[in-house]
Symmetry: C2
Subunit: 587 residues, 2 copies
């Protein structure tokens, strides 16, 4: 090695030793006639000092050094003078008195400061120069954390008797779910591979293949329009096991996340445990199937008292089989007109017609609604919601899903606005008993999860009468308000599978076309099995306290699915397309 | 769990316990009025016995069971009667006396026998039904071995202070190396991502980013016409480190393979060590840069004595600045005319004009060449090659590369034919000092490795006079005759990089077009760095003793790049192509 030590390991015990360090000039300070250079590598910083008298020639070279130059420095480890130690640096008790200096490489002035985490550098610039961004403390930490999470996951699942099985990236498309990336085949012109949205079918085939317990950190691809926590390609922990119940799968998955959080976060789990709630409960209580439970802020169903409250909007919503619900925001009476306008817009984005509210101010309630309310309704409202003077109440009156979406959004805004989030803990919990089916606009049924998800066996017999009341054996895991992933017990019984297809109105021809190879495999002895998958980028993002997964992805695409560093995608020579038997079509 | 134990864990100590097993009916034997079912899962086999008297109803159901049905069986662990134990089964001392039986799933008759490793099942059929093939002992072993190798690699590189950094699959193309798979971009019609041949540039950018030590088990893609040990997608261990010498990289890589071999193979390394040879040495001695050194069979350069030997073919080859070399095959005098004809065809496939030979039979030498030889040449030949009565000599007389290719091929054929391979050991060794440049047919230079490979610093000054004598700081690792991978110290000095481009005649415009983003990154303080990559599929294949990597790849493509199980690639709806702005062109 060109170094004897890293820049993070020298301390008082090394005093007097001659060592060689390599790294980047993090900063140069000319001070009191001396030159100080903080040499940086992945392991830390070491202060190097150059003396003009004893090392005149060296000093001259040191004077030319600019930030981010790559240096090899030999010197003697020396204790710093009392009072000049730096407790914030692991190596802060010592400095290196330079005796030799080799400039391994020069560097242009970087487009942003590497060693200053305070400046808010434009993200596009950071992505274009990702290799420089990687040198910052933030990215070094995030990428090290990501690597650590990988290892914890693998050690854990191997200890669970899993085999790590890598599934291919060039597979066949499924007409379900997200839009897929295509890969033209040269050998079979006009034919295409697709990049997997997830290894769902392949991991189920591993179970049919008797692999018993499988895991993989799988690269998945979705050609979707991006949001903050989405990327065209991302990693998921993918797990599947045979001869299991829902509880078995959940115990294994929960254990992995408990380990990750325990080993990677200073924060404990809220109340020291992982709760489990039904889908109905979280939707009714928080309006969301992935609520952030680091704060409470429950929503109250006031349909019973609102049916005859005098306010037409509420009454009509109920007449249309909708619901009326209220969110009490403690201390919310101080909200300004402007803030309420902003929240109203948020509710409207989610299809609410508006955002009714009451501010329970000291001087009396303020609301455009009051004039419509029948005598005594306000009191009933306050009683049912527990609202007190100083609070605000927000209302949703519409279909169940619109009310939930709107009030859930206001719930998170309120939590942020009034600092209600307990950021000293992580809230990790299960959501279970999802509905098996959802209704399309035309009244036909569609699956909520995927068509291989097992229905609740006890409820299945009532499927004809009350299809929407049938639950799936399907479970989500939510951390700090983010859905980490979901899983289910799969259908292994061909008769049950057929019944599900029938309920969904998928014809035998369609079944073959869409799921032929997996249905065929299932005829040869599929074991009962189930599994789960969770997004690793998202877990790392939450643990790192980052606002989006780009910050924890080594080489991410931007929000328009472009790699700004590589300038990808890009045009390719006509010759290459010709070989593939395809042609670019002008719009 | 639906089971209390796996099918591999019961033994005499469990006697008397009531247990529940789940698995596949491996075989049913009706014997002595009883029914025996071997229940199989990933962990092993357990014999289950059904008694007609005590469990009449159960017995009736058991009679219906067919191979590969999925069963859940409750029963009491019982010691087998003395003399009926099966020492070949881990659970062979006991059997399960069934008291309950649930048929979890039925199975069609599989297209091939799962529990019979002797039958030679057609590979296409095995690939089409990979999920059934996976249930065979062979595939279970291979996939478990693969998983184990993954874990050994990761533990090792993490212990080496590496960060595991996952690089993207949707990247930008490079005009070097193999043909790349394209992925059309929907967001930027007419533009394409490519799937990486390797993360070479990205891992170098990680070094520029100060990551210091990186590793990854990387999925790589090559759209090449396939050979036995190639797949369109494959995994490689990818490693890169900063501030290192060639020796540092080699020590780390060698350590990982020593660990894998030690933990996964019963065979030791030949002579207990990893040798290191120069490229010149192995080419001269074995005619190959990846010889199988589990046997010796050296090639002898006889150019000095052949120049005036009387045989025109030899003399002319030397006059054309070629070479004449001989391979001595001990005991080869018995080779039949037919065998020699086959070998001659092999040599011709490699561009040799023929395959001259002498059989040194008891009754005297036999060869069409003898009549041309000058007096005493045969004796000189025998002396120089060490050939004795009973041996054969094969000759190559052509350019260096043709002679090497042909005689190396004959060398491996001879080793197989005469059982010279020491299959009780692994021969792992380094090949170093590869030439920096190769000559194109038009006399211009091209790089042997890639244009970022560092030349030998001492030889670089002579590059103008003797470019072909300059070595690269580049090293390959060879195991049992397979090249596992290669690596190099990369160029980090922009001046040197420029000199290399100049030697290769790559214009500044071309440099920008082909390597722009990495050259730009290198201006911002690239550290000295180097790395290596090796094919994991190939390592597992060798350790498993399999003839090709399909046998150790969970879901491989066939030799025509097709997934027979998924029927991929396949046509896609016109609508999807339209969204991507591409069109299939009819031939």
């Amino acid at each position: 090695m060109l170094r004897s030590h890293t820049c993070g390991e020298l301390h008082a015990d090394h005093t007097g030793q001659e060592v060689t360090l390599c790294g980047w000039a993090n900063a140069r300070r000319d001070h009191g006639g001396l030159i100080f250079i903080d040499l940086r590598d992945r392991y830390g910083l070491t202060q190097v000092v150059f003396y003009p008298e004893t090392q005149a020639e060296l000093f001259k070279i040191a004077e030319t050094i600019r930030p981010e130059w790559v240096l090899q420095i030999k010197g003697v480890v020396t204790k710093r003078i009392e009072g000049t130690q730096n407790a914030r640096m692991a190596t802060g008790d010592v400095e290196l008195v330079a005796s030799e200096l080799t400039i391994l490489n020069k560097a242009k002035t970087p487009p942003f400061e590497i060693n200053n985490s305070d400046t808010n550098v434009n993200e596009e610039l950071r992505l274009e120069y990702r290799y420089l961004d990687m040198r910052t403390e933030r990215m070094q930490k995030n990428i090290a954390l990501r690597s650590k999470v990988f290892q914890i996951i693998r050690e854990y699942f191997i200890a669970q008797d899993c085999l790590e099985i890598d599934t291919p990236c060039l597979i066949k498309g499924t007409p379900e779910g997200a839009r897929e990336y295509l890969v033209p085949s040269r050998v079979y012109p006009g034919n295409f591979f697709v990049l997997p949205q997830s290894p769902q079918q392949l991991k189920q085939l591993c179970m049919v293949g008797g692999m018993d317990r499988y895991f993989q950190i799988a690269r998945c691809f979705r050609d979707e329009d991006l949001r903050g926590d989405r990327q065209p390609e991302f990693l998921q922990l993918d797990y599947e096991m045979s001869f299991c119940t829902e509880e078995d799968v959940r115990a294994v998955i929960q254990g992995s996340l408990e380990q990750i959080i325990q080993k990677c976060s200073p924060k404990p789990l809220k109340n020291g445990k992982v709760e489990s709630y039904t889908w109905k409960h979280v939707m009714n209580t928080y309006g969301s199937d992935k609520p952030d439970l680091r704060y409470d802020l429950p929503i109250t169903d006031i349909s019973d008292i609102a049916a005859d409250c005098g306010f037409e909007v509420f009454e009509k919503a109920l007449q249309a089989k909708g619901t009326v619900r209220a969110l009490r925001v403690p201390g919310g009476a101080d909200l300004s007109r402007k803030e309420i306008d902003v929240w109203t817009e948020l509710a409207k984005e989610l299809k609410a017609k508006g955002l009714a509210y009451i501010l329970l101010k000291e001087e009396g309630p303020v609301s455009p609604l009051l004039k419509f309310f029948k005598e005594g309704f306000l009191e009933k409202l306050m009683e049912q919601t527990g609202a007190k003077t100083g609070d605000a109440l927000f209302f949703g009156a519409d279909t169940f899903s619109i009310v939930c979406a709107a009030l859930s959004r206001i719930r998170s805004e309120a939590a942020r606005r009034f600092n209600l989030i307990d950021t000293s803990v992580h809230a990790l919990f299960w959501v279970t008993d999802f509905p098996m089916f959802e209704e399309n606009d035309d009244g036909s049924l569609t699956f909520s999860h995927h068509p291989f998800t097992s229905p609740n066996p006890g409820q299945w017999k009532n499927r004809k009468e009350k299809p929407l009341d049938v639950h799936a054996v399907c479970y989500d895991l939510v951390l700090d308000g983010y859905e980490l992933g979901s899983g289910s017990i799969r259908i292994h019984d061909p008769v049950l599978q057929q019944e599900v297809f029938d309920m969904l109105g998928i014809s035998p021809e369609d079944q073959q076309k869409r799921f032929g190879h997996i249905l065929k495999a299932f005829e040869y002895g599929a074991p009962p099995h189930g599994g789960f998958a969770y997004g690793i980028d998202r877990v790392v993002m939450i643990l790192a306290g980052e606002p989006n997964i780009r910050e924890v992805t080594p080489f991410p695409k931007d929000q328009k699915a472009k790699d700004l560093m590589l300038s990808a995608p890009s045009p390719v020579p006509e010759k290459q397309l010709k070989e593939l038997g395809i042609k670019v079509v002008e719009e």
